[in-house]
């Protein structure tokens, strides 16, 4: 029997040698005169075990990891003989880190071949769209609203309400736009799903198109993600060939087409109105709201603009029903969140789970503490605009409102762990510096405030009139928070103020004698 071996083609796996492992496997098999089939999948998200290689057996897929090219010969021997191996992880589906997750969105990621429409359909793909086509617009809107799904980009706006607004708008053309400008450090869920299960994103966007009466969609992917661009383009071509994009989708009377557009290295284009400007071919200047994109969006037309993960949640909701999704979660945060554990962490990767899990469980228990083995000192949740939380706040449950109540945000679900060697003055300074580099320049608090913020924090670092300058930074943060046009200037104060509040000792005035010794 031909051996079937699965090797991820996810960018994170490739970055640690997955391509070399695939080549070595082919060579070893050829040397032994054995015929094998290598299937390149997405990643299961256990990043510390990448490259994680799996072999199909009568008892399901058995995993090995992390496999380096030098391990391939012995791993192959173990696969061929069912023998034991130090890198063997047992049945892939039984790995505890995977088993304790609730994978609704990422159910197929790492399992199927992302280039194969057949594989997608065999694993339940396009079931949601089939039901959507039978339901019609109003019933779909009811399902999406009842699921409680909120925008996964970070703002948490109810998806059903957004879609309904566009559905009710009258216009000659409407658009569906997928925000795949995942620029937050510590986040990679959009990238993983686009590379590992791209048809899911297409299905979600197609469903949106049918619901609101749009026939054209764009996926705006950042240029830092070349593998995701390639995966989405390949999937779009396959979906067109299979009759799932273009005219008469799935044999219905609906038409929907998709196009990938690539960003050009501007973080601010992750802000939805800036993204729309960029799609129109202009500088990514933020637009004032209102009007909302739902009324006046791409090329001035009513537009649904959602994050990749929002669209990716739709097929499950349609296939299994709103209640199946809403049964997970807490409070007003319903369903699951693909959480990303990153930075200095022992077991980093993608962990999809129902809302409500605490920050401490995530970083200590699931993440296993730091990679360096030193104590965790700070955790930044929600990207460069998210707050730094100390251990004292590790009881915070993962929930939009719970984080907001503690002056933080969950954003796009990225968690970056720092050990006790972190200098919080440096992190506060970087938050301002990043804002200064990436500001679109339209509003003054963000454009000027961020530069003044860098300068003032530098003065604090240098021990210049520390008390006065700390007060100045706090004042400046308030101006930026309440006076900026979008979340870039408006949220940069979160990391800065949280660093000041929770890690005040780092900002304490240093006696002159000590300063000279430094």
């Amino acid at each position: 029997m031909k051996m079937r071996i699965f090797v991820p083609r996810d960018a994170a796996a490739i970055a640690v040698g997955a391509d070399e492992v695939a080549t070595a496997l082919e060579q070893v098999a050829a040397q032994r005169g054995l015929s094998i089939e290598i299937i390149r999948t997405g990643s299961r998200g256990l990043c510390w075990l990448e490259p994680m290689v799996e072999v199909a057996t009568l008892k399901g897929r058995v995993a090995y990891g992390p496999v380096g090219p030098e391990d391939v010969a012995s791993v192959f021997e173990s696969m061929a003989s069912n023998g034991s191996h130090p890198l063997q992880l047992g049945a892939a589906d039984e790995i505890p880190w995977l088993k304790r997750q609730t994978r609704l969105t990422f159910a197929r990621c790492g399992v199927i071949d992302p280039r194969s429409l057949d594989d997608y359909r065999t694993h339940g793909g396009y079931k949601g769209l089939a039901r959507a086509l039978s339901l019609g617009s109003d019933a779909i809107l009811n399902e999406v609203t009842a699921s409680g799904l909120r925008g996964r980009g970070g703002a948490g706006f109810p998806t059903g309400i957004k879609w309904k607004t566009v559905a009710q708008a009258k216009a000659d053309r409407k658009f569906i736009v997928c925000n795949a400008d995942e620029g937050d450090s510590g986040t990679f869920a959009d990238r993983m799903i686009m590379e590992g299960d791209p048809f899911l994103v297409i299905e979600g966007m197609t469903t949106a198109g049918i619901t609101v009466g749009a026939t054209k969609g764009y996926i705006y992917i950042r240029s830092e993600y070349p593998h995701a661009v390639e995966a989405m383009n390949a999937a779009i071509a396959a979906a067109k060939r299979g009759g799932y994009l273009g005219d008469n989708i799935g044999g219905s009377s609906y038409s929907f087409d998709l196009e990938v557009r690539v960003g050009a290295g501007a973080y601010v284009c992750g802000e939805e109105t800036s993204l729309l400007e960029s799609l129109e071919g202009r500088r990514g200047l933020v637009r004032a709201k209102p009007p909302l994109p739902a009324h006046y969006g791409l090329f001035g037309k009513p537009t649904v603009i959602n994050n990749v993960l929002s669209f990716a949640a739709i097929p499950f909701i349609l296939a299994e029903g709103a209640k199946a999704y809403a049964d997970f979660g807490m409070g007003r945060s319903r369903g699951t969140m693909p959480i990303q554990l990153a930075g200095n962490i022992r077991q980093g990767g993608l962990f999809e789970t129902a809302f409500g899990v605490t920050l401490g469980e995530l970083v200590d228990d699931i993440g296993g503490g730091t990679a360096t083995g030193r104590p965790i000192r700070a955790v930044q949740v929600g990207g460069p605009l998210g707050a730094y939380f100390p251990r004292a706040l590790f009881d915070t449950p993962f929930d939009y409102e719970a984080f907001a109540a503690r002056d933080g945000l969950i954003g796009h679900g990225g968690i970056v762990v720092f050990d006790d060697s972190v200098d919080m003055r440096k992190q506060a300074r970087f938050a301002m510096e990043f804002c200064a580099i990436e500001s679109c320049g339209k509003c003054t608090p963000c454009r000027i405030g961020s530069t003044r913020g860098v300068e003032t924090i530098e003065k604090i670092i240098n021990g210049e009139r520390v008390g006065e300058n700390l007060a100045l930074v706090e004042d400046l943060c308030n101006t930026m928070k309440f006076g900026s046009l979008c979340a870039l200037g408006g949220f940069t104060p979160y990391p800065v103020l949280s660093a000041l509040k929770h890690f005040r000792e780092d900002f304490a005035p240093v006696p002159t004698t000590l300063q000279a010794a430094e």
């Binding site: 390639e230 071919g281 990153a342 679109c440």
Partner: protein, 162 residues
Amino acid sequence: MTAVYEPRYERWDETRGAEIIAEHSKQEGATLVILHALQAAFGYVPEAAVPMVAQALNLSRAEVHGVFTFYHDFRHKPAGRHVLKLCRAEACQAAGGDALAARAEAKLGVSLGSTTADDRVTLEPIYCLGLCATAPSAMFDGRLIGRLDERRIDALVAEAQR
């Protein structure tokens, strides 16, 4: 993949430039698409191309110049023969990226954002490659590298200088 930083590019040629522009100018909102295509072909966006793009899209030259300068990706002159991008965002900072960036700067004798005098290597910061659980990370001539450490940085620098 990664056509953007292929070491060999076409030499700028007006006819070829016009061809590339014409190929994409019918798309709605084509400015970024065209600038990307020009840079993929020539390795940078030649100044002479800016008024051509403006004319093709019925925009002012200032508008196209504005777009070209707004986005970090577009180059006004060719990069070095190799491009080494080091992620400088928080997840990579947490995993020891600061020291590795300083090491690369010292080895190459340039600071982030500049090119060595012999035009061999351009060293640039990048803000997140989405490899945050296998940090620190880098991109070398379009190739992704995760779990960077001193040994790997030294190997990359040596490869770049070859």
